[in-house]
C-alpha cells in the first residue's frame, strides 16, 4: 500500500499540511495517513490532539471523502515518528507544515521539518499557512 503521510497537529501548520495533503490525495487517488506525534515528556502538549480534536478531524476527513487513517505516536523525536510511518506504508509523498524562522532561530531551535526533509526517502511537500 502506498499513500500520503501528513504530519499533523491541531494548529495552523497542521491545518495547512492537511489541506495540501487532501488536494494531493484526490489528484493521485491515494489514501492519507495523518501522524500526530508527541515527545510525551510534558504533562500537557498543545500539539498533541485531544480526543475531541481527533473526532472533529475524523469528521473533516470523512467529508473530504478520502481514504484515511489517523495515528497518534509518542517517541523521542517527532521527525522520526513521521519518517517511520512513511517508511512503513511506503509513502509516495510526505506533507509537512513549515513555520517561518530566521537563520538564528533555526540555529538555536533546530527543526523537525528540516529532519523530515533530509531524512525522507520520498518527495516532501512543505507548505506554509
Amino acid at each position: 500500500m502506498s499513500g500520503i503521510v501528513v504530519a499533523w497537529a491541531p494548529n495552523e501548520y497542521g491545518a495547512a499540511a492537511l489541506e495540501a495533503g487532501l488536494v494531493e490525495a484526490r489528484r493521485r487517488g491515494t489514501s492519507v495517513v495523518l501522524v500526530n506525534g508527541t515527545r510525551g515528556d510534558r504533562l500537557v502538549d498543545d500539539r498533541f490532539a485531544s480526543d475531541g480534536q481527533i473526532g472533529s478531524l475524523e469528521r473533516q476527513l470523512v467529508e473530504a471523502g478520502v481514504e484515511h487513517e489517523v495515528r497518534q505516536t509518542m517517541g523521542e523525536d517527532i521527525a522520526d515518528q513521521v519518517l517511520s510511518v512513511a517508511e512503513e506504508i511506503g509513502a509516495e509523498l510526505v506533507v509537512i507544515g513549515l513555520r517561518r524562522r530566521s537563520p538564528v532561530g533555526k540555529l538555536i531551535m533546530g527543526s523537525t521539518s528540516q529532519r523530515v526533509l533530509l531524512g525522507a526517502h520520498c518527495p516532501v511537500l512543505a507548505v506554509k499557512p
Partner: protein, 512 residues
Amino acid sequence: MDSLGLLWDGFQAAFTPMNLMYAAIGVLLGTFVGVLPGIGPAMAIALLLPVTYGLEPVPAFIMFAGIYYGGMYGGSTTSILLNTPGESASVMTALEGNKMARAGRAAQALATAAIGSFVAGTIGTILVALFAPALADVAVDIGAPSYFAIMVLALVMTAAVLGSSRLRGFIALFLGLTIGLVGLDLNTGQPRLSFGVPQLADRLDIVVVAVGIFALGEALWVAAHLRRRPLDVIPVGRPWMGRSDWRRSWGPWLRGTAYGFPFGAIPAGGAEIPTFLSYVTERKLARTDEFGKGAIEGVAGPEAANNASAAGMFVPMLALGLPVTATASVMLAAMQGYGIQPGPQLMTDQSDLVWTLLASLLIGNALLLVLNLPLAPLWAKLLRIPRPQLYAGILFFACLGAYTSNLDPFDIALLLVFGLLGVMMRRFGLPVLPLILGVILGPIMETKLREALTISGGDLSTLWSEPLAVVVYIVIALLLVVPPLLRRTRPGLDERMHEVIDERDDKELVER
C-alpha cells in the same frame, strides 16, 4: 485573649517590607511546586534549606510557611484542570472539580477552591494561635516517658494507619530510624553505623537525606518513566463565582474546616481522611442530584478540609515539636539547623519566631488569594514545561544544596545513595512520610528514652510509670488491633474511600 495580643505583635513584626517579600516569594514558589504533580512543598523546602541558612530564622520560616500554603493551593489547580491530583489530599477535589471544569465551570471550581482555602486557612491559623499555647502549657509538664510514648504513637500512626499496607509503612519507618542512628552516640561518643568513614561519624545531614529522597528520588523515578501520553488541560480564564455559587459554597467551606483542623492536628497523616469525610458529608447533604456531574459543594468542602488540616499540623509541631507531615518534618529539620530546639518550650523561648510565623501564615494566605485568582491561567501554563528541563533544574539545586552544606564531595555521593533509596521506595510503593519522620523523630526519641532511663537508673518500668504514657500505649494497642478487626466485620473507611475513587470514570491518576 492573650494569644490574640501576641498574634497582633506578630503581625507588626511580619509587616516589614522584607518579610512581606519573603512571604510573597514563598507563596509564588509554593504554588509553582504545588501545581506540578510529583513536586511538593516538602521537596521545595528541602531544596531551599541550604539557601536559607544565610537568612535569619524569621524570614526563612515566613517563606517556608508561604511555600506550604501555596503548595496546598496549587495542588487544587492541577486536580481541577487536569484531573491529576498531585497528592492524596487533592484526590477528592479532583472528583467533582474536574467534572465541573469539563462542564465549562472551571472558573467557578478554581474560585471556590481558592476562596475556600483562604477561609479554611485563616480559621485554621487562628485556631492554631488559640490551641498551640494552651497545649504547650500542658506539654511543658509532660515527663520524658510520656513524651517518648507520644512519639511512638506518632510513628506507629503514620506507619500503620496510613497507606496501603502496614508492612510497607513499617519498613519505611525502620529504614528512617536506622538512618537516624548513623553518627556518634550523644552519650558515650561511640560511632554507630559509621563503617569507619569519618564523614558518617558526624551525623547525617538531614538536608542530604531529605533532598535525596524527595528530589533526587523523584527525578530518577520520572526519568525512568519519562514518556507518557499528554493529558488534556481545560482552558480557563480568570476564576470567579456567581451569587448562587457563593450561597452553595460557604456551608461546605465551614464544615470542611471543622473536619480538617482536628485531623491535621493529630498524627493521622494529613488530609486524606478529612477530605474524604467532607466529600461524603456534602454528598449526603446535597439537595440536587448534581453530585457526580460537577457539584460545587464537592470542591468547596474537601478543599477547605485540606487547607484546615494543613493549618492543624502546626499545633503539634509548635506545641510539642512533633511533626505529622513530611513538610512539617522538613521544617523541624530547618529549626534544628538554626539551633532552635523544637518542643513545648518553643512557644516561650522563641515566642517572636512563633507568633511572627503565625501572623505571616495569615498574611501569606491573603496573598495567595490575591495572587492566585488573577494568575490561574498562568499557573496552568506551567504544565507545559518539558520534564527533562524541569528535573534538570531540580537536580542542579539538589546537588548544589547537598554540596554547600559541608563543602564536601562525599555528600554528593551520599545524595546519590539516598536518591537511589528514594527510587526504590517509589518502585516498591513504600510511603516516604514514615521514613522522614523516623529520621527526624528517631534521635529526639532516643534522647527522651535515655533521659527517662537515666533518671530511673536503667529501670525499664519507668516507661509506663506515668498515667499519660499508659493511656498513650493503650491507644497505640487499640490502633494496631481494632482496624483489622473492624475490617473483618464490616467494610471500613478504606474500602468506602476506594469505592468513591473507583467511581471515577477517568482513572488516570499519575502512576506512582
